[in-house]
Symmetry: C2
Subunit: 199 residues, 2 copies
């Protein structure tokens, strides 16, 4: 015996959520059906509406239901700075620091020839068009410090080289509050190579 077909269908559908295995999906399905049916309907509606209406910002490619997202629509930011990111979450993380006042460009991924992800899939052609317009003076490459993220950053740096634009990469090193003892070798090597003189 197992659950009735509709409950099994719901359990299976919940598995699409990242981090949700068979046991969690079962617990979620039964919780919603037993204790919180209104919330289940709200969730169904929110999923439907978000899928139907959330597209991407025409300017920075982040997820947005408006043609131009709130940040790109803002006129009070520094148009000479452009931060290039892999994903909308990274954009949120940087915004939350409050330490960056420029604009963003979201690649939505990284170069990955094995998976067939090339420069055009990441909108690098659109990024270059934007840079050629001349307003941006510095491109900050904030892709992830993974092999693919580094390769993507290098590819973009190569492309930008021909233009009169500064290209920088975010610093990699020991996290603030971290203890050297517990930091991996790759990060430590980065931290040493990227040392800055104090006097």
């Amino acid at each position: 015996m197992s659950f009735s077909p509709l409950i099994q269908q719901l359990i299976k559908a919940l598995r699409c959520l990242p981090g949700v295995g068979p046991k969690s999906a079962q617990r979620m399905a039964l919780h919603l059906l037993e204790h919180d049916r209104p919330a289940a309907l709200v969730l169904a509606g929110a999923l439907q509406e978000a899928v139907d209406r959330v597209g991407e910002c025409e300017s920075c490619r982040t997820l947005s239901e408006e043609p131009i997202c709130g940040i790109c629509a803002s006129r009070s930011r520094d148009a000479t700075l452009l931060c290039v990111l892999e994903s909308p979450v990274d954009m949120l993380a940087i915004e939350q620091t409050g330490g960056f006042g420029g604009y963003y460009f979201v690649l939505k991924g990284h170069l990955s020839p094995i998976d067939g992800v090339g420069p055009e899939d990441l909108g690098i052609d659109r990024l270059m068009e934007r840079l050629e317009r001349g307003e941006v003076k510095e491109v900050i490459l904030a892709t992830n410090p993974t092999v693919e993220g580094e390769a993507t950053a290098h590819y973009i740096a190569e492309q930008v080289r021909e233009l009169d634009i500064r290209v920088s990469r975010i610093a990699h090193g020991v996290p603030v509050g971290g203890e050297l003892e517990f930091i991996d070798g790759g990060t430590l090597a980065h931290a040493l190579a990227g040392r800055r003189s104090l006097v």
Copy 2:
């Protein structure tokens, strides 16, 4: 800055799932919107359909989209045994052991005067009607070994006392494969009090 209103609405709606906090909800929402929109639509449909169509079995009160669930509809089980449970998941857990061939009755909760949950909310009146029909010879009380679960079991046992029906409680003790050293005192006390002679 934060996400656009529709994405925020989706993140908030995902929080209704048990075990999902703000960070997980954010990760889920972005994962679905960035990488798996078809799955999001399937999930929305499954939620809607389950809420619309899954009700409870008229006989055992478990979640079911049919008026009578698969187990209650089966004619090949032992009608003299009735196992009383707190929730449909417990029913599934017992079914998966393959060691029980009787029928079930699901209370969908436990007695809890503080939360205003009384015998009628648990369908105990319907349970008694069923027992009075005389087919059942033994009621196995398999409510959880919590204070409320014990109280519920005792309440039902009191009610059944007047009928000519055996009432039993599932055994509590050391889990198979458990080590005494790591078992809590309450369980150990149960295990000692419920000891069975071997010869």
